[in-house]
Symmetry: C2
Subunit: 357 residues, 2 copies
C-alpha cells in the first residue's frame, strides 16, 4: 500500500470521498479500473486537501528493479561526451536508493558499424528505459522503431532524429545554433567571400545528425545575408594528425586568401593547433563545445568563438526523465532545448565558474 | 540555549570536552569570552564528531531582529532594476521566518542629488546591513566610508567602486563586457571606421560607474584591433524622446555613413526605435540587459546583440550574503562576477526559458 505524505492517509481520503481504500490507491497510482464517478469523487477530495503525492516514498516502497541502458560515443576524459556522462552520473547518485541499475554502452562515433552493433545488443538486455545519442540518423531511426515495437521508452540527448518521437529530447536547437555560428563568424561583413568548413570523415552514414542541422542553419544565414560567399568543405580524420596536416596544407596552398573557418563539432582545437603551427595568425575560428582543449584555444586567442550546450545538464535531465516517467509516473516534457551559450576569451572565466546543474 | 543538530547535544559536547555547557555555547556562537585552552578542547571535540551547526534552527532561536536596507534606482516594471528587485524579493521570502525586515529605497538614477538624499537618510534608520547599487562613484564612495565608520556591513550589486571593499560584490566584470561588446560589434572588420556610442545624460557626476568601465573595455579593444576607428559619443535624455529625435537627426545628417552603434545601458530599445522610425535598416546595434522591450527588438532584428548579466541572481545572492554574514556568521566570497551572457535572435528563446536562480 502506497503512502500519502503528511497527516492525511489513504484511509482518510477514502472516507472523505465515500469510496474504498483500493479505489483511492488506484486513482493515486493511475492503475486498474475505476468508475468515472468514483474517480471524480477522489479527485475532488485530493483537490480540497491540496494533496501532493509523496512520490519518493512511494517509489522507495516499490519492489521493482529498473534497468536503464545508456548508449554514448566512446570518449576521452574532459571531452564533450565526458561532460554528458558526468551529468548522467550525477543523476545516478540521486537515484541510488531507488533500485535503479544504470549501464553505459559505448560505440565508435566515426564508425556506423560499431554503433549498429551496440544497438543490436540492447534488446536482449531487456531494458526498462534507454538513453541514447542518435548520432547516426538511419541506424538510430531503425533502433528507435525497434524500441517502440518493444514498448521500451527512450530519451535522446545531443541530437534529434526527424520523424522519431522519443519520450524526451535534451539538447541544442541545432539549426538555430548553426544560424548563430554564421552570424558570429560573418555577420554583416559582405566582403567575406570564402569560408572553410571542416567536418569529420565518418565510416558509413554521411555524418552526424547534429552536424547536418547545424550546417543547414549556417548555410541558410549565408544564403540570406551573403549569397555570393563560397563555402569550402574539407574533411578531416580525427585520429590522424599527419594526414590532416597534408590535407590542410594542400587546401590553403590552393586557397590562400581564406581567413574564416568553422567546424560543427568539438574538435576545433585540432584546427586551431594547425593554424598555430603554420603561423596563420589572422584566422577567425568558430567551433563548438567547452572541452578543455577548446577552452585553452579560446583563452590564447586561437579560437574566437565557442558555442556551448550544457552537456552535463543534458545527461542529468535525460536520465531523470526516464525515472520520472517510469518510476514516478510523471509527465515529461518532450522537447527540452538547452541554452545556446556563446563563449569568448572575455566571458569564459565567468561562465565556467558558475554552477550548471 | 541554541540547538545542535542530530543526536549530539551541547551537553554531550561539554562532557566530552570537559568544559561547561555555557562554554560550548559561547564557542559555537562565537560570543563572550572563552579561554584559549577551553576553546581548543571544544574545537577538538567538534572536529572529532564532525559537527555541522544547525544554523537555521539556531538563527530561528535567536531573538534578534535584523533590518536590511536596499538602495536601488527607481524603475519601471520589467526593466533591469525590476529584475534585480525580483531577486531580492525571492530572497526575502526565504528569510521570512528569520526576523528579517527588508526595506527598499529608490533614487532617480539620472540625478545625483536624489541619490545623495537617500544615502543621507540611511544612518538614522540604524540598518544592520545595506545592499546598494553604487551608480554614482563619488557619492557612493563617501556613503560607503560612512557605513564603514558606523561598522555597518554593505554589499554592492551591479557596479563596483574602485578602492571600496564591500562585504561582497555581485555583478558583471564591466571592463570585460565592454571588451566583448567591441569584439561582437566590430571584430576583425578593419573597414569600420566610425562607431556611434550613445550615453545617458545625467545630472551631477559624470556617468555611472558601470558604464565608465564598460566604455574603457570597449575602447581598449578598438585601440588594439582597429586604432583608426573613430568613436562618436552622443548624449541622450532618457525621458525626452522628442529632444532625442532632434539630437539623432542632427548627428546622422552630419555623419551619414555610420552603421554601427553601441549603448552601455538597458535603453537600447530607444535607439532601435529611432532607427526603425527613420527607416535606417542596416544599422548594427548592440546594447545591454534583457528587459522586455530590448528582447522584442532582438527578436525583430532591430538589435543584433544584447549582453546580459542576470540581475535576479545579483539581487538574490547579495541579500543572501548579508544574511550569511550577519545571521549565519558564515564567510562570504567578496567578489562574485556574474556570467556575461551574449543573446541574439537565435538563442534568446532558449535562454529565457531556462531557470536562472
Amino acid at each position: 500500500m502506497a503512502e500519502v505524505n503528511g497527516k492525511i492517509r489513504i484511509k482518510d481520503i477514502a472516507e472523505l470521498a465515500g469510496v474504498s481504500k483500493g479505489t483511492v490507491d488506484r486513482v493515486l497510482h493511475n492503475r486498474g479500473e475505476v468508475s468515472r464517478a468514483s474517480r471524480e469523487k477522489v479527485e475532488k477530495v485530493l483537490e480540497e486537501i491540496n494533496y501532493h503525492p509523496n512520490i519518493h516514498a512511494s517509489a522507495l516502497a516499490s519492489k521493482k528493479r529498473y534497468n536503464f541502458h545508456c548508449i554514448l560515443p566512446d570518449h576521452e576524459t574532459a571531452d564533450y561526451w565526458a561532460y554528458l556522462e558526468m551529468g548522467i552520473e550525477k543523476q545516478v547518485e540521486e537515484l541510488l536508493d531507488l533500485n535503479v541499475n544504470v549501464v553505459i554502452h559505448y560505440y565508435n562515433q566515426y564508425d556506423v558499424d560499431s554503433c549498429r552493433q551496440v544497438y543490436a545488443s540492447i534488446p536482449d538486455l531487456k531494458p526498462d528505459g534507454v538513453l541514447m545519442s542518435p548520432l547516426f540518423k538511419d541506424s538510430s531511426n531503425a533502433f528507435a522503431a525497434k524500441l517502440k515495437e518493444l514498448n521500451i521508452p527512450f530519451v535522446f540527448v545531443d541530437s534529434q532524429v526527424e520523424g522519431v518521437e522519443p519520450l524526451a529530447y535534451f539538447g541544442m536547437h541545432s539549426y538555430q545554433s548553426g544560424h548563430l555560428a554564421a552570424k558570429l563568424l560573418v555577420g554583416d561583413q559582405y566582403d567575406i567571400k570564402d569560408i572553410v568548413m571542416f567536418h569529420a570523415k565518418r565510416k558509413g552514414e554521411t555524418g552526424a545528425n547534429q552536424t547536418i542541422q547545424r550546417k543547414a542553419g549556417f548555410m541558410a544565414y549565408i544564403k540570406e545575408n551573403n549569397p555570393d560567399c563560397r563555402i569550402h568543405s574539407v574533411g578531416l580524420y580525427w585520429n590522424d594528425r599527419d594526414k590532416n596536416d597534408i590535407i590542410m596544407d594542400q587546401f590553403f596552398r590552393e586557397n590562400p586568401g581564406i581567413k574564416n573557418s568553422v567546424i560543427f563539432n568539438s574538435r576545433v582545437y585540432m584546427v586551431a593547433d594547425y593554424f598555430k603551427k603554420s603561423a596563420m595568425k589572422d584566422m577567425t575560428v568558430l567551433g563548438y563545445d567547452l572541452v578543455d582543449r577548446n577552452v585553452k584555444c579560446l583563452k590564447n586567442g586561437a579560437v574566437s568563438y565557442l558555442i556551448a550546450q550544457r552537456p552535463e545538464i543534458q545527461g542529468y535531465r535525460a536520465l531523470k526523465a526516464l525515472a520520472q516517467h517510469l518510476i514516478y509516473k510523471q509527465e515529461v516534457k518532450p522537447v527540452n532545448y538547452m541554452p545556446i551559450d556563446i563563449l569568448t576569451a572575455e566571458n569564459i572565466d565567468f561562465y565556467v565558474n558558475f554552477p550548471s546543474i
